[in-house]
C-alpha cells in the first residue's frame, strides 16, 4: 500500500544557498501518528513547512519529491497546492498566542475554516460551538465572542487544534504544539490530540524534540539530524533497539522519573560535533 505522505530525497536551501534539508526520506501512512524528533536547527520545522507548502520566504525545495495522496505536490501549480491546505492538510503551530490573529474574534477565525467548506454563517457558528466543546473549552458561546488576548495559551492552542481538526483533513502537521505551554497543560493538550486523532483517524506528523511525547503519542518515528533522517521505525522498535548512535544518545538523555537513580546523561558533545563535521564534509563534497 502506498503511504499517504511520501517524502523522497527532499533537499531545501536558505536564500544564501545554505542547505537546511539534505535529502530527507519519510513516509506516513494514512491514520498513522508519526513522530519527527531531533534537536533544534535540525530541519524539523522546515520539513513540516515544506510538506505543507508554506516555507518561509526565500527557502526553496531544490530537489526531491513529496507525494501526498498519490499526487506529486511539488509538481502541482500553486493554486492547486494551496487548495490542499485547509482541506486535505491542516497544521497546528508552536506558539498558540501568536498563531491566532489578535484583532479578530475567535468566532471569525474558527468560522473561516468552516465557511470554506460551504457552510452558511449560522451553520458555521453552530459547528464552531460544537468544535469548542469537543476540544473541552468551557462556556464555548462566550469564548466565541472573545479575542485571543483574553484567553490562556492552553485555550488558544485548543482553538488552533479545533481549527485543524475541523478541516477534516487527511493529514495534520503538528509543529511542537505543546512546547510553548505549561507542563500541566501540555499533558491535557497531548491527550486531546490523541483522542481527536483516534476519533477521526487522521494521520498526524508530530514534530517534537521531546522523546517522552513521542513515546506517549506516536506509532512510528523518524530521527532527523542536520536535514537528514538518521533512523526510522516503529516507536517500540526504535526505543528498544536504536540503530544509530545519536538515537541511542537521545534515548539515554531522556529523564526517567521511574528510575531516578540513573541520573542525567546529556547527548555527548563529541558525538554531535562529529555528526556536524560529517555533514559539512558531505556538503563540501556535494558542492564540488
Amino acid at each position: 500500500m502506498t503511504p499517504l505522505l511520501r517524502v523522497e530525497q527532499v533537499r531545501a536551501a536558505l536564500p544564501g544557498g545554505r542547505p537546511v534539508l539534505r535529502g530527507v526520506d519519510l513516509a506516513v501512512a494514512a491514520g498513522e501518528v508519526h513522530g519527527l524528533v531531533g534537536e533544534s536547527g535540525g530541519g524539523k520545522t522546515m520539513l513540516a513547512r515544506a510538506v505543507a507548502g508554506v516555507l518561509p520566504e526565500g527557502v526553496r525545495v531544490t530537489a526531491g519529491r513529496i507525494g501526498f495522496a498519490g499526487q506529486d505536490v511539488l509538481a502541482l501549480p500553486p493554486r492547486s497546492r494551496r487548495a490542499l491546505l485547509g482541506h486535505s492538510i491542516a497544521m497546528i503551530l508552536q506558539n498558540p498566542s501568536a498563531a491566532l490573529n489578535p484583532v479578530l474574534r475567535v468566532e471569525r477565525q474558527l468560522a473561516e475554516v468552516l465557511r470554506a467548506q460551504g457552510r452558511s454563517r449560522a451553520e458555521a457558528r453552530d459547528t464552531a460551538l460544537d468544535w469548542l466543546e469537543r476540544v473541552q473549552i468551557r462556556d464555548p458561546a462566550r469564548v466565541l465572542g472573545q479575542y485571543p488576548h483574553e484567553l490562556s495559551g492552553g485555550m488558544c492552542q485548543r482553538i488552533v487544534i479545533a481549527m485543524a481538526f475541523a478541516c477534516q483533513p487527511q493529514l495534520i502537521i503538528a509543529d511542537e504544539p505543546t512546547t510553548a505551554l505549561d507542563v500541566t497543560v501540555q499533558l491535557e493538550v497531548l491527550r486531546l490530540i490523541r483522542q481527536l486523532q483516534r476519533e477521526s483517524g487522521v494521520a498526524v506528523l508530530f514534530v517534537t524534540h521531546d522523546l517522552g511525547v513521542v513515546a506517549k503519542l506516536c506509532d512510528r518515528m523518524s530521527v532527523l539530524f542536520a536535514g537528514r533522517v538518521l533512523e526510522c521505525g516503529s516507536v517500540a522498535e526504535v526505543f528498544a533497539r536504536p540503530a544509530h548512535a545519536y538515537t541511542a544518545a537521545l534515548l539515554a538523555a531522556m529523564p526517567r522519573y521511574d528510575e531516578p537513580e540513573r541520573g542525567l546523561h546529556p547527548v555527548p558533545t563529541a558525538l554531535v560535533e562529529q555528526l556536524w563535521a560529517d555533514t559539512a564534509e558531505a556538503d563540501r563534497a556535494a558542492a564540488a
Binding site: N101, V113, M163
Partner: protein, 335 residues
C-alpha cells in the same frame, strides 16, 4: 468603548480649549494694544473713543476683560465683524461647510489612494508596483504642500485647462442651493450635474491636500503590512487555505491599520490645517480665505471667530483619532 470614555476624553480636552482661548485673547487684545485703534477713523473725537472703550469693556482691568470675553464666548457671542457688520458666529458657520467639504474630500481621496497603494506595494512585492509606490511617495513627501498646490494649478488648470483654477462653484449655479453644504446637498438631492461641477472645482485643492497624507498612509501601511506578514497568524491563515489576497485583506490589514492610524492620525489633523493655505492658492471660499481677508482688513472679531472654530475642530479631530485606535485594537478597547 463606552459613552463615558468619550465624555472623559472630552473633559480632558477642556483645559486645552481654555489655553486656546487664553492665547487668542492675549494675541488679539493685549499684544496690539487696543482693538479700538483699528476701529476709529480720523474724525473720531476722544469722547467717541472713550465711549467705544466703555462699550467694549476695555476700560476694565485685563483679568476682568478676559472674564467678560469668556462669558461672551459661552453665550455664543463672538462679536460683530468690523468690515461686514454681521454676527461673527453666523459668518463663520456659513463658511465652515465649504472648508469641511474640502477637507473631507481630501481625506477620502488620500485614504483610498494611500491604502490601495500600500496594499498594492505589498501584494506585488518585489515587482514594479512596490517600486512605483515607494518612488511616488518619496517624491510626494519631498515637495512641500505649497509647491504641490502651485504645480497642480499650473499643470492641470493653466497649461492644460482640465479643471477650474479657483472658486467653489460657478456663481450662477450657487443660487440653486439651500444649504451651505453644496456637495452634500447635490448628492442627496440627486443632481449629478451639480455634483460634477462642484467636484471639478474641488479636484485640485483636494488633491493638493491629499498628496502628503496619501504618501504617508501608503508608506506606513506598507511597512505595517510587511510586519504583519511575518507573524504566525499569517502562517496559520495560509495553512487554513486562504488565498494570498484573502489573507492580506482579512488578517494582515486589520492589524496593520493600528500603526497606520497612529502615524497618519497626526497627518489628518495637519490636513485640516492645510486647508488655510490651499484655500488661499485656489481662492476657495472657505474659512481660510475668510481668515486671510480678515487679516488684511485687521477685522479682529472675525479672526478670533475663525481661530476658535479651527481650534475646536483640531481638538475634536485629535479626540476622534484617539478613539479610533480603540475601535481598531481590541487590546486597547478593553484596557
Amino acid at each position: 468603548m463606552t459613552a463615558s470614555t468619550v465624555l472623559r476624553r472630552l473633559l480632558q480636552a477642556l483645559p486645552t480649549l481654555f489655553g486656546v482661548v487664553l492665547i487668542i485673547f492675549v494675541l488679539l487684545r493685549v499684544v496690539p494694544g487696543d482693538p479700538i485703534s483699528m476701529m476709529v477713523t480720523g474724525e473720531s473725537t476722544p469722547d467717541d473713543i472713550a465711549r467705544l472703550r466703555r462699550a467694549y469693556g476695555l476700560d476694565q482691568p485685563i483679568p476682568m476683560q478676559f472674564a467678560l470675553y469668556l462669558a461672551a464666548l459661552a453665550r455664543g457671542d463672538f462679536g460683530t465683524s468690523i468690515t461686514m457688520k454681521q454676527d461673527v458666529l453666523g459668518l463663520v458657520l456659513q463658511r465652515l461647510p465649504a472648508t469641511l467639504e474640502l477637507a473631507l474630500c481630501a481625506f477620502v481621496l488620500a485614504t483610498t489612494t494611500g491604502m490601495l497603494a500600500g496594499l498594492a506595494a505589498v501584494r506585488w512585492r518585489r515587482h514594479w508596483p512596490e517600486a512605483a509606490v515607494e518612488g511616488a511617495s518619496a517624491v510626494a513627501l519631498a515637495i512641500p504642500e505649497f509647491l504641490w498646490a502651485l504645480i497642480l494649478v499650473l499643470a492641470l488648470s493653466v497649461a492644460l485647462p482640465l479643471f477650474p483654477s479657483s472658486g467653489r462653484v460657478d456663481p450662477v449655479v450657487a443660487t440653486a442651493f439651500h444649504t451651505q453644504f453644496y456637495l452634500l446637498e447635490s448628492l442627496v438631492t440627486l443632481q449629478p450635474h451639480l455634483a460634477a461641477e462642484l467636484l471639478s472645482h474641488l479636484a485640485l485643492p483636494a488633491l493638493a491636500l491629499a498628496i502628503p497624507l496619501a504618501a504617508i498612509i501608503a508608506r506606513v501601511l506598507r511597512t505595517a503590512l510587511l510586519e504583519a506578514m511575518r507573524q504566525d497568524y499569517m502562517l496559520l491563515a495560509q495553512v487554513k487555505g486562504l488565498s494570498p489576497n484573502a489573507a492580506l485583506l482579512r488578517h494582515a490589514l486589520p492589524n496593520a491599520l493600528i500603526p497606520t492610524v497612529t502615524v497618519a492620525g497626526v497627518q489628518v489633523v495637519l490636513l485640516l490645517g492645510g486647508t488655510v493655505l490651499v484655500e488661499l492658492i485656489f481662492a476657495y471660499p472657505g474659512l481660510g480665505n475668510m481668515l486671510y481677508r480678515a487679516a488684511v482688513n485687521r477685522d479682529l472679531p472675525v479672526i478670533q471667530g475663525v481661530t476658535m472654530v479651527f481650534s475646536v475642530l483640531f481638538v475634536l479631530l485629535n479626540l476622534a483619532v484617539d478613539l479610533s485606535y480603540a475601535l481598531l485594537d481590541p487590546r486597547i478597547r478593553q484596557a
